[in-house]
Symmetry: C2
Subunit: 160 residues, 2 copies
């Protein structure tokens, strides 16, 4: 992550991933395509629904985390390249644990994401890669924790 090799990443490292503003248009566009439940699509139905107002699909909140994560990595790579260093690539993720949708995300909300490394380990199956564990969180504009999951990503070791 952030252009760093496995050897350079330690538990406690935190990356500010910036924020994503949930417009009504983006909420409706995502919901129409992937989660057309009435409380993600229609104000009147949402008023009678579980949160009393229109809210974003939870998968939209998760996908917006990814958008912010990729953009922050790309900015870190640009900075490294400008300083004459080739960044380590982002590896794929085998999956993750414990995703929590703690609060509905509504039109006009801005979620600020961050990622904190919680650990890493080597992989017997892949000598050139390790696995980095991170707690990913999203906070709303009032600083309230709204979304979190415990991510895992393959991360390259420094070439010998």
């Amino acid at each position: 992550m952030m252009g760093l090799y496995l050897e350079e990443i330690e538990a406690g490292f935190t990356a500010d991933l910036g924020s994503y503003h949930f417009t009504r248009e983006a909420i409706l566009a995502f919901a129409r395509k992937y989660d057309p439940q009435p409380f993600h699509l229609d104000d009147e139905a949402a008023a009678a629904g579980p949160f009393g107002r229109l809210s974003a699909s939870g998968w939209h909140t998760a996908s917006a985390w990814m958008k912010c994560y990729v953009a922050t990595n790309q900015a870190a790579w640009d900075k490294m390249r400008a300083a004459g260093r080739e960044p380590a690539p982002l590896g794929p993720s085998p999956g993750f644990n414990n995703l929590r949708w703690l609060k509905p995300v509504c039109p006009g909300d801005t979620i600020h994401y961050r990622s904190t490394v919680t650990g890493k380990r080597e992989l017997n199956s892949r000598p050139h890669w390790g696995l980095v564990f991170a707690l990913n969180e999203g906070y709303d504009q009032n600083g309230v924790l709204t979304f979190s999951f415990e991510g895992k990503a393959l991360t390259p070791k420094r070439p010998q």
Copy 2:
């Protein structure tokens, strides 16, 4: 789920959620918006990337599960209403565990999703709702398990 109340759902109940065909266009559209990594956007970059070819964002595979889940619920509701019964609504999900991206999903792949109830419990905090646990899986056109997660969803109890 599927219009059923908590009392009517038992471990072992399986729902076939139908399938989602991953076109190149849908893969690129999702990746441009939410996961613009080169191996989700560009054939040449993907050839040099972790899977050797263009693949869908993992969040796209997850969002397509949701699309199939909602459509299958809506079909079940229509059938119940045609039979003169008002279906139980889908409740929100507080989150889930152990999401696994086991195989890349590539243009032309069709993922068939299914959901199997693994358990349920009452909630002290919400007397009218329970929590239903389900193993959600996606299989490719060759029957290979490609995607899974352990879902949780609030489910209404039968009105007294």
